[in-house]
């Protein structure tokens, strides 16, 4: 879901860069208040985990791959402030060190994966968790991926004359990868709960 450079027009990527930077600043404030000192290594490790997972592209159709985003996992585990910060760090390192996602497009990619995906997943998880703790993880992950992909499609369509077929392809392919990601996220969340590394109630880490 990483937009490369050369796709977005300046009237699109410049405001998105500002939005991404603003969102990271707001999350940093939230994270500072809520993050327990003892959980800093765990947050770092989860960021590294998401980075590693994103390297593992899996087939979603013949000749088409995708990878998990990890926004749902971070949002469910740590709450919105820490999740946005963590995801933004991953996306920034990918762009600066590995050329995965453009430099001019970095703000757009932060907005899509670290803000839209993460906050959507968090909000949906909050709403569903009391009644359906496991389903909440899966559904919030899928919707997070779809909203992030929708953002990416929107920025592309505001920059170039791409049409409805492009948007449709983005939604269908990301629905498939989102479903895979939901299964992965649920398995990891269950393993984390069982390990006691993160409490079932994520609010304790993100207190």
């Amino acid at each position: 879901m990483h937009i490369p450079d050369g796709i977005l027009a300046p009237h699109v990527w410049v405001p998105l860069a500002a939005t991404g930077a603003g969102a990271v600043a707001v999350s940093a404030r939230a994270a500072r208040k809520r993050l327990a000192e003892e959980s800093v290594p765990l947050v770092g490790l989860m960021g590294a985990f998401v980075f590693a997972l994103q390297m593992v592209n899996f087939p979603i159709a013949a000749g088409v791959s995708d990878h998990v985003v990890g926004a749902g996992l971070l949002a469910v585990t740590f709450g919105p402030g820490i999740a946005v910060l963590c995801m933004a760090a991953v996306v920034t390192i990918q762009a600066l060190v590995f050329g995965d996602g453009g430099i001019a497009a970095l703000g757009a990619n932060v907005v899509n994966m670290a803000v839209l995906s993460t906050l959507t997943a968090w909000a949906v998880h909050q709403a569903l968790r009391p009644a359906f703790p496991n389903l909440a993880v899966a559904v919030s992950t899928v919707l997070g991926v779809l909203v992030g992909a929708g953002g990416a499609a929107a920025w592309v369509m505001l920059s170039q004359p791409y049409g409805a077929k492009f948007l449709g392809a983005m939604m269908v392919t990301h629905l498939v990868s989102g479903l895979v990601e939901a299964a992965v996220t649920l398995a990891v969340v269950k393993a984390l709960r069982a390990s006691g590394l993160v409490p079932g109630d994520a609010r304790v880490v993100a207190r």
């Binding site: 450079d5 050369g6 800093v40 087939p59 390192i93």
Partner: protein, 114 residues
């Protein structure tokens, strides 16, 4: 409530290293969903073709990624380069987050507006 201490993170850390350094080598080597959608549904108007919605280095001028496409320059073996890049990236992400959060917490201690 027992919070994660570094000792308890050794096994999960090893798992991350295995994913970044080994499992990543099995990645399906085709364009991802966004790249494929961009390529398959490229606008057909002449103006759009001239504008060329192709990935390029435009906007990245003045910056070149040190480990482009998850490879390590100078390491000839694609597998070894990919494994190294994955482990370097995961370790770098871990350390960067540790530093970032440490600085944030440090600032938080100075006072409500610090």
């Amino acid at each position: 409530m027992k919070l994660a201490t570094p000792r308890r993170l050794i096994l999960p850390g090893l798992a991350v290293a295995v994913i970044a350094g080994l499992l990543s080598l099995l990645a399906y080597p085709f364009p991802d969903a966004l790249e494929d959608s961009l390529e398959s549904h490229r606008p057909e108007t002449k103006a759009a073709e001239e504008a060329g919605p192709r990935p390029s280095s435009e906007g990245s001028e003045g910056w070149s990624a040190p480990l482009p496409d998850y490879s390590v320059p100078g390491v000839k073996s694609e597998g070894l380069g990919g494994a190294l890049a994955g482990i370097l990236g995961a370790t770098g992400t871990f350390l960067a987050l540790l530093l970032l959060l440490h600085v944030l917490k440090g600032r938080g201690r100075r006072g409500p507006n610090g």
